[in-house]
Every structure is written in C-alpha cells, then in structure tokens.
C-alpha cells in the first residue's frame, strides 16, 4: 500500500471516536514545530521562517520581501516533485490555486487533472473536463460497460533535464536556470510556438494575454521564497509532493529512499523528466 494511503488511513479512522482522540492527543503532544513543519508545509527542509509565528514579520513573509533564498543557495538544493496518483481525488483545488497564483487565462492550463476509467474489457477512457478545475462531480454516463478501475492523474511541467522546449527555441527565450528550473523569458519570447510543438507532454501553450509561451514553473517564484508550489500547498490529500532531496527528513527523500516504484511519462523519448509518479499504471500517457 502506498505511503500516502497508510498515512491517511492512520489519521482518518472515523469508525470509533476513542481512537481518534488518541491520535489527536499524540499530535498535540508532538513537538509543535516539528508537527507543523511535517504536516502543513510538507517538508521544505530547514526553513526557519515558516515556523516562527511572529506578528509583524508574518505579513512580510506572505509577500516574501526579505525572505528570499538566493540563487546560489537554491543551486544547492535538489528539488523533486512527486505525484501520487493513488492519493488524488480529482477535487481540482490544485487547478484553482494555480490559475489564481499564476494569472492563467481561462481555457489554458499550466496544470490539469485527468480522469482515467478502465472497463472490464481493458478499454481506457480518459477525459479532463475544464482541466479538472471544477472537480469531477459528474460521472461519465457515456460508458456503458462495467468499470474495473478509475483514478485521477495530475499533469504539470515535467521539468526535463534534457528539455525539448529549450533545444528548439529559436531566440533562447526558454532556458534552464542555474538552479535547474526550465523558465520562460516573457520579454524575449516571440511566440513562434515551436516549444509548444516540441513538448511531448503538452504542458506549454501560448498565453493569449501576454502573447508569449507559458507553462508551469513549479512556482519558481514561491520556491525561491521558501514556499511550496501553489498546487502542492492546495492539495488536500498530499497527492502532490514537493521537497528537497538534499534534506533527508523531507517526504520526497523518504519516498526516493523507499522501495516505492516511481515512474516518469514518455521515458523512451529521452527528455529525462524530473516529475515522478507513484502508482501511474501503464495506461497513463
């Protein structure tokens, strides 16, 4: 059973309140800082300013003016983004958060969630109404056969180590930063659309407002301020995980060190994506 499921099933065991109270007590007893660090922030290793709730500096913290990680410091981090398919409930909170955080125009998506439904004859049906942003409360009534399995798959930039998009950009407007984030220079891009064609994962698009290429940046602007990407922060089940592999306490480190099977999408293309999936069966493209 995946790490997430065991974690969640320990917490949400609402068959008997006495057990809940015991867990509740355990949590309160645990070191406050450690508790908040693990649960709320999802393990950005060692960032002090997330923990200390001082009145005035909190607002500065929100806006991040004096709390930035420098480029040099950031180069020493080894970030990983792991998506646990078994934990995603298709609520769409990640998409809602991303749209607001990054000013994404309607109808265009930096991140989205797909729904996979597999029937007993192994036919795979995939859809993503509005990118999953409004949740999946409406079932697929067009599938007549009995359903064997169904799950949700969040999609976002795979932050490749050998990015096709960077290779093909004619004007060097998209690049890999010194701290290994693939970013877009909005002041330089001519919107030729070549990067959109070259990306195997369909995560790039031409932003209809800025008329430049755009894509998920793993919320670089948040990560540089010691925060989690907006979608990770929003995810209610912790299906999206982000952290520093150089911090052995982080959840991502623990997953990497475990026997958990991690996969990437379209591995055969050689882009060396650094977005890992837990529980993504072979139907997922």
């Amino acid at each position: 059973m995946s790490l997430l499921r065991s974690f969640v099933s320990n917490i949400i065991d609402f068959e008997s309140t006495p057990k809940f109270e015991a867990i509740e007590q355990k949590m309160v007893d645990r070191d406050r800082r450690g508790f908040i660090e693990k649960v709320v922030s999802g393990s950005i290793g060692g960032s002090l300013f997330l923990m200390i709730p001082m009145q005035s500096s909190l607002f500065a913290e929100v806006l991040g003016d004096n709390e930035m990680i420098t480029l040099e410091e950031n180069k020493n981090k080894n970030y990983a983004f792991i998506v646990d398919v078994t934990g995603c409930i298709g609520c769409g909170s990640c998409c809602v958060a991303d749209r607001k955080e990054n000013n994404v125009p309607d109808g265009q998506y930096r991140t989205w969630v797909e729904r996979y439904v597999i029937d007993i004859y192994d036919t795979v049906y995939v859809d993503s109404p509005d990118g999953g942003e409004n949740g999946y409360s409406v079932p697929r009534d067009d599938i007549k056969e009995e359903v064997k399995d169904a799950f949700f798959v969040p999609k976002l930039c795979n932050m490749c180590e050998e990015p096709s998009c960077v290779q093909v950009c004619p004007v060097s407007a998209t690049f890999t930063s010194p701290d290994n984030f693939v970013l877009i220079d909005k002041n330089h891009c001519v919107a030729c659309g070549y990067c959109v064609q070259a990306c195997p994962y369909g995560v790039r698009f031409i932003n209809e407002q800025t008329k430049t290429a755009d894509k998920c940046t793993w919320c670089y602007h948040r990560v540089r301020k010691g925060k989690l990407p907006a979608c990770v922060n929003a995810c209610p089940t912790g299906a999206r995980k982000f952290g520093d592999l150089n911090d052995p306490q982080s959840e991502v480190s623990q997953i990497m060190d475990s026997k958990e099977i991690l996969t990437v999408l379209k591995k055969e293309l050689g882009n060396e994506p650094t977005l890992y999936y837990i529980g993504a069966s072979q139907e997922v493209v």
């Binding site: 795979v124 064609q197 369909g202 293309l269």
Partner: protein
C-alpha cells in the same frame, strides 16, 4: 462504440497552434528553392533547353522570396521581436528555426546579387533609353556604374556562375532547414524522421519547376507571345518535373511504408489519424488525385510524342495539379502532425476561418501577392531577351 468517447486530447493541445501561415511558409520557400534550381541548371550546368527561362526563373524566385517572411510575421505573437532570431539565435540547441535569420538573409543577398550581375548589362542599356523613376531605379541597380567593357561582361558571367553554384546548396539549405524543423521533433511521431528534410527539399524542387512551367506558359499566352516558347524547353522542364516528382513520391511513400511495417505504438496512432480525420486530405487528395494521376500524365508527356498544343495544355494542367499537391503535402504535414495529439488517444481539431488573423483570406492574399509582384517586377526586369545594345562597339 462511438469513437468520440475514446477521444482525449491534452487541454492545451485541443486546437492546432500552427495554422495556415505555417502551411504556406514552407510552400513559399519551396517555390523559391525550386525556381532557383531551374535557373541554376540553366546557368551553372548549361542545360541549353532551359536557357530561355534562366532569367525568368530568377525573377520568379525573387517575387516569392519577398513574401517568405509575411506568413511568419503574421503568426508570431510578438513580430516586433523577430529580430532576436538574428541577434540571439539559439546555437546550443541548436534550434533549427534560429537558422531562419541567417539562412534567409544570406540567400536573399545571394539571389539579389546574382540578379544584379545577370541584369547589369541590360540595365546599363536601359538606363540610356528610359527616363524618370525607372531610370533612377536602373541607376541604383547598377550601383552608379556604367562600365560596358568586354572584361566587365566576363566578370559578370564568372561571378554570376559562382553565385549560381553557391546558391544551389544555399537554396537547398533554405528549404532543407524547414524540413529539419519538423524532422527533429521527437514528440510528434508523424514528423520525426530523418527523411523529412529530403522530402521537403524534393517537393520544393517539384513546386518550383511546376510553378515555372505554369507561369511561363500563362504569361506568354496572356502577352500573345506563345509562339516564342521553344517546345524543347517545356519538354525538358516536364521531364525534370517527372524525375524530381518520382523521387519525391518514392521518399514520401518510403517513409510511410517503413513506419507502417514497423508498426510501433506511435504508428498505430498515426495510422488511425490517416484513416480518420486525414483520410480525405491525405489518401484522396495528396496521394491519389494529385500524385498518382499527375505521375501518369507526366509520364505520358515525357515519353510519348505529343503535339505542341496538347503539350502546353496538359503540362499547364499537370503543373497546376502539382502546385496544389505540394500545398496539400504541407497541410498534411503541418496540420496532420498537430491533429495526431500528444495524448496518443485522440485527435485535435483545426478549423480555419475565412476572416481571421491567420485565416483563409489572408492565406489567399499571401499566395496571390507573389504573382502580382512578379508582374510588377517584370516591368523593371525584362524577363526574357537580352536588351540589345543601342550603341555600336
């Protein structure tokens, strides 16, 4: 089961990003490259039968070259930043599209220089017999010189030969790099093949030759000078067209055939597109109506003895067919590749509108403009004969 419930395309992928503008860009550069090759065959390889159209081919190439950047600038989200292709090209990718700035600039310079050399003697004569604006133009084109010596003519000849020779690989590069733009994209199965630059180049040559045949005949007919056309010129052009076309068609089918034989999972998706949304544009139009039928017509014209009138009518007709075939080929590559969505589970859509920024009306204008420009250029650049010298030597 209704196929549409199995259809899934990534949300950003639903509509094609590269539109008609990207379909006609390789088309226009193709015609330029092909026309240049005809003129090079005449000038550099001294194919006598083609000499009457040597100058015409160059002006034809120029009239299309002027419009090469138009579809691209129209497509860009920030055309005012296009100069970055020249100033900050991505040479570490290297991005094939970055080649555009330098290759296009180099080729434009070469073509214009070659035209200036070939027409220099004519312009010096014309300077004497014209007045007003035209005279000023001729003065500019001769760079303010008026040398009429034999040595000067020899230099003209040698340098234009040199430029013609250098122009052949450069024209090939001008169109070959476009093929590489598609051929290097591993994310799109339909594009990812090393044959792509070759296929593009061969179909470019085909479109250039066909364009020259068609417009040669039409212009001469319209100006009432059809009798000036030598039969052997048309026959040579037709044979050339057939030969290039055979190679082009063989490579296109080879690409398809090897992939179909290999039947990878990526191929399954391509194949379902070819039998689905692309059935009409690919099998019916590009392959059957516009490749197989012209193949036989061209074969007949090349091998059988055909009377002059029939030759002219049929070769104009088949040239027009080939020009449309090459357009369909560009459509099938550019639009087809995007229709075969990256989700591997469905097809994206593309519905060009008549009146939109990159729509049908603009496309027609951009394809008609070179023809109009050809007519305008013919007023300044005599397309056919050498201007006879008025002074005695």
């Amino acid at each position: 089961m209704d196929a549409s419930i199995l259809n899934y395309v990534f949300p950003n992928d639903v509509h094609a990003h590269w539109t008609l503008m990207i379909v006609i860009y390789p088309y226009i550069t193709g015609v330029v490259a092909g026309a240049f090759i005809v003129s090079a065959l005449a000038h550099v390889f001294h194919v006598k039968a083609l000499e009457p159209i040597a100058k015409f081919a160059l002006i034809f190439a120029l009239s299309w070259l002027i419009f090469v950047t138009a579809p691209l600038l129209n497509h860009l989200g920030h055309p005012e930043r296009a100069i970055w292709m020249l100033f900050t090209p991505n040479f570490s990718g290297p991005s094939m599209m970055a080649g555009f700035g330098y290759i296009y600039m180099a080729y434009t310079i070469l073509l214009i220089f070659e035209i200036l050399y070939i027409y220099r003697a004519d312009f010096i004569e014309l300077k004497k017999t014209t007045t007003g604006f035209k005279r000023v133009l001729y003065g500019v084109f001769t760079l303010g010189t008026d040398d009429e010596s034999k040595k000067g003519l020899e230099i003209d000849h040698k340098i234009s030969l040199f430029l013609g020779a250098v122009g052949i690989p450069l024209a090939s590069l001008l169109h070959g790099y476009v093929g590489f733009i598609f051929g290097g994209v591993k994310a799109v199965e339909w594009w990812f093949t090393p044959l792509m630059p070759i296929i593009f180049l061969l179909s470019a040559s085909v479109s250039g030759i066909a364009g020259i045949i068609l417009f040669y005949i039409i212009i001469k007919k319209v100006t009432g000078k059809i009798s000036e056309i030598k039969t052997e010129t048309i026959i040579t052009l037709v044979k050339l067209l057939w030969a290039f076309f055979i190679f082009d068609f063989v490579f296109e089918l080879l690409e398809l055939g090897v992939h179909a034989y290999g039947a990878t999972s990526g191929w399954h998706h391509v194949s379902s597109a070819l039998h689905g949304p692309m059935y009409f544009s690919f099998w019916i139009m590009q392959i059957f109506v516009l490749s197989i039928v012209p193949f036989f017509i061209l074969g007949y014209l090349s091998l059988a003895k055909v009377n002059r009138k029939m030759l002219f009518v049929l070769s104009s007709f088949v040239s027009a067919m080939i020009l449309v075939q090459v357009l369909f080929m560009r459509w099938n590559v550019v639009i087809g590749g995007q229709i075969m969505a990256k989700s591997e589970r469905g097809f994206a859509s593309f519905h060009p509108q008549l009146f939109e920024k990159e729509g049908i009306a603009v496309t027609i204008i951009m394809l008609v403009a070179p023809v109009v420009t050809l007519w305008l250029l013919s007023k300044v650049f005599p397309l056919w004969d050498r201007v006879k010298s008025s002074s005695k030597k």
